[in-house]
């Protein structure tokens, strides 16, 4: 007869999971605060350039995006592999200078802004690093014609360049 009774049939110990929801909620809040909603699906491939002097864009509501790059892999059958311009969700398939579609885009984006913010509109150019400047120059000229003069060359911070 043993003095200490061995407990029988106890199986595995239960882990107390009552704080699990709290942990998950904490993660959830972290992600809710630190991320922004995906607005458009980017249909072109863009490898951003890395430079040292970048600044954060402060007011996101003032920013509209123009993407220039080669179409994504699954769209190349449809559009070919020449560089294309994407505005909102639309890929522009146009020969020559895309002045008109850029102007339409600028006008519609400007409509969405409150009157007081209209002159402050920023066009952010997200351009793949290997795109020839000809395409970019065309867009820049179109933007000038549409009087959207504040532009932002989207780029990533180059941390290695810092200490120079």
């Amino acid at each position: 007869m043993s003095k200490f009774k061995r407990k029988k049939g106890q199986g595995a110990q239960k882990i107390n999971t009552s704080s699990l929801p709290d942990i998950i909620f904490m993660l959830l809040f972290f992600f809710m605060v630190s991320t922004t909603m995906r607005e458009t699906e980017v249909q072109v491939q863009i490898t951003p350039t890395e430079v040292s002097e970048v600044k954060k864009l402060e007011q996101k509501s003032l920013v509209s995006y123009i993407y220039i790059g080669r179409p994504a892999k699954h769209l190349q059958g449809l559009y070919g592999s020449e560089p294309m311009i994407q505005m909102n969700d639309k890929l522009v398939n146009e020969e020559g200078i895309p002045t008109e579609s850029v102007q339409d885009f600028v006008l519609s984006e400007r409509e969405n802004l409150p009157e007081i913010d209209k002159p402050k509109m920023v066009m952010s150019l997200r351009i793949d690093q290997d795109i020839p400047m000809g395409k970019v120059d065309d867009v820049k000229q179109a933007l000038r014609r549409a009087k959207a003069l504040i532009i932002n060359y989207s780029a990533r911070k180059d941390y290695e360049d810092e200490g120079r």
Binding site: P21, F31, R38, K55, M133, L143, I151
Partner: protein, 211 residues
């Protein structure tokens, strides 16, 4: 009266619900921050005719990028991108009053009174401001990467000059000036007048490839 036992709510599925929400946010959001170089495009001139602006030759630094991403700065071919910042800074400051580098004009720029011991009590800075302009031209086949790197160096040079000025007079980093503070905002704006971002982007044209 019988004491009712406190009912416990089953919170076992709470974790599942939270997980679901978490996964939704992971999928539907992005984390990338918007960063970039903000620049101002020149407006299209009202009358279509080319305006002949008379600018002294010594006041212009022409930066050309050819189709092979090679640089020509001030008529000298083969400049490397990492030399550009120094060249630009020298161009804008002209420390030895070199007759081939830009002219300067004496200007009075108002800083908030009493903001720096190095300024007179009324806060007016009297000094030499460069008349220099950088003209950046690229070929249609220049890659965007090279173009942006060159832009970056030019911006970096002006930022460095502003930073040096700010450090000297206000013992602060130009980057750290608080734009929500009226005095510091005025300081930043005045410094921007001392060193202007005079980078002009020419009308696009094809520059022959120099091979």
């Amino acid at each position: 009266m019988a004491k009712r036992e406190l009912q416990e709510i089953n919170a076992g599925s709470m974790a599942d619900i939270a997980f679901l929400l978490l996964i939704f946010f992971l999928v539907a959001t992005t984390m990338d921050v918007d960063t970039g170089l903000t620049r101002l495009l020149p407006p299209i001139p009202e009358d279509e005719q080319e305006q002949e602006v008379k600018v002294n030759k010594r006041n212009v630094l022409v930066v050309l990028i050819n189709r092979n991403d090679q640089l020509m700065v001030g008529g000298e071919f083969g400049t490397r991108v990492d030399q550009l910042k120094e060249i630009t800074m020298e161009f804008f400051t002209n420390p030895n009053n070199d007759p081939t580098l830009p002219e300067k004009e004496t200007k009075e720029i108002e800083f908030p009174p009493g903001s720096s011991p190095l300024l007179p009590p009324d806060g007016v800075w009297r000094g030499q401001v460069s008349k220099g302009v950088i003209s950046l031209q690229n070929d249609r086949s220049t890659t965007y990467q090279q173009y942006l790197k060159v832009q970056n160096e030019l911006v970096a040079a002006v930022n460095q000059l502003r930073q040096d000025f700010c450090k000297l007079y206000f013992d602060k980093d130009y980057e750290d000036l608080n734009m929500n503070n009226t005095t510091e905002k005025e300081i930043a704006e005045a410094i921007r007048d001392v060193y202007k971002m005079n980078i002009s982007e020419a009308e696009p044209k094809n520059i022959g490839g120099l091979n």
